[in-house]
Point group: C2
Chain length 284, copies 2
């Protein structure tokens, strides 16, 4: 079977949804452990508005504090030029821009239309001295607009690729996608972008992330985002409804005979460490 | 048709899931508008750990700043004696304790077993000079433990009632309950508690909240929690996956001929105001 990469996004997409501020030292410890597990890429920071996403306000400190392993690319989200400048200053190895395939989520997520958000990325792609990855959210279902038209996903993917994103990660942001939806969406998307430049970013809200990964594998995708501990997503269901857990993806890929190059024992330790960072929600 | 009350929980359960800190003045403005809409009870505060739930750290200031309308009870969550003392000092008209029907959620939500959490409530019920409401979370589905046994819900309800809670609100915390599950659960719960001492607290994650309210109405429940703007729940799907929107419940009850005593125009205005308090998520 083929080599498949898991892009670890836990320190960013997993932890950012914790409302209680996690100590910078704890974030650094998690990244340092992950750096020994065999990942090639780890998303560790997000240079977004500290007012809107206070959990990521220490992104520069995290990037400054981690012990960088050879061959590992440490990634950061950069929604705008200010974010890019901060990422450059913090010596992020790669950055990522993020768009949505649905207007409703785009407005709620970044307070801009899809076109406006894409326009913001042009100067980032022009100026970035490092590789830039692209994310597309709501590639199957949007909490505001309902099902997403695969043609809309394909159009945003094509635009991000034309801008120069080296890889585009397709996000089932709310974890409601069915394998059938992923199949139809990927038929449309692989018409405009080779699967080797695509990644799958699945949330496990409905328990279908692994099924959706299998569909993506059948379309030739070989990179999947995942978060140790399955954190992220909905605060009401951490561990169950957030990012698909790296541990689960690893076991699934292993069972199918794919090679990930990851140390399952260290990944499991990191998952435990990440879950221990969750705080009580104290809600109803 | 009968009178049905909507217990407005938006200023607490709706807003608490916003990660960006909402200005105290904005919270007060929302409560003051809601106070003119005809609600008898509005949950406006939560005296939980400010470290774990920073959004609720200004609960005392909110209670001090609002203009209290005659006949409106302003409610606050109180997880422990320290919370009760704060609620008394802030002159909350009523307080609420919150338990879970599933062990997995109890542990994640309040870092205690169900029994431990119930034991914490005994001194609160003994000491509280005001009415105490009880919440039960995960009354049909738990993100950790799967489907909840209706007998477990009934047992927690019976214990909260025996302690002295004047009303117990049954929460489909993650919004996955089906009408069939609600039906079976309510059969068990109404065996131990009259429906006039129960309320329904439904999240609309799966779009079934109104259906579940109808099932609860058929079991004799006449109080439903809702949040203006449909806020709360999952940060990835505000407006779609949080608390069922007060506007939607009101329209649904109106159409069925129930009397709520609410001014739909003011409720709609408050919904707009609440939605405007949402901040961009800046995520993938």
């Amino acid at each position: 079977m083929s080599a498949v990469e898991i892009f670890e996004v836990g320190p960013r997409d997993g932890l950012q949804n914790e409302k209680a501020q996690i100590a910078t030292a704890d974030k650094i410890a998690l990244v340092d452990l992950l750096s020994t597990a065999g990942f090639k890429r780890i998303e560790v920071a997000s240079f977004v508005s500290p007012k809107w996403v206070p959990q990521m306000a220490d992104s520069a400190e995290v990037l400054a504090g981690i012990t960088r392993a050879n061959g590992v690319s440490y990634a950061a989200l950069t929604p705008n030029m200010r974010g890019l400048e901060a990422a450059i200053a913090a010596k992020a190895d790669e950055v990522a821009v993020f768009a949505s395939a649905s207007e409703g989520f785009s407005k709620a997520n970044v307070n801009a239309t899809i076109e406006e958000s894409l326009a913001r990325f042009v100067p980032i792609l022009d100026a970035a001295p490092m590789p830039v990855r692209g994310y597309v959210s709501c590639i199957a279902e949007c909490p505001y607009d309902g099902p997403t038209d695969p043609a809309d996903v394909a159009r945003v993917v094509a635009q991000l690729r034309a801008m120069g994103c080296y890889e585009i990660s397709l996000g089932d942001t709310i974890g409601r996608a069915t394998p059938e939806q992923i199949d139809v969406m990927l038929k449309a998307v692989t018409d405009v972008c080779p699967p080797t430049q695509l990644a799958g970013h699945f949330h496990d809200t409905s328990g279908r992330a692994l099924l959706n990964i299998d569909v993506a594998l059948s379309h030739g995708l070989r990179v999947f985002d995942a978060a140790v501990g399955g954190l992220g997503g909905c605060p009401y269901a951490p561990g169950a409804a957030g990012n698909v857990a790296t541990e689960a993806v690893l076991a699934h890929l292993d069972a199918a005979g794919h090679r990930t190059g990851l140390d399952a024992k260290i990944v499991a330790q990191a998952g435990e460490m990440a879950r221990a960072m969750r705080s009580p929600k104290e809600t109803t």
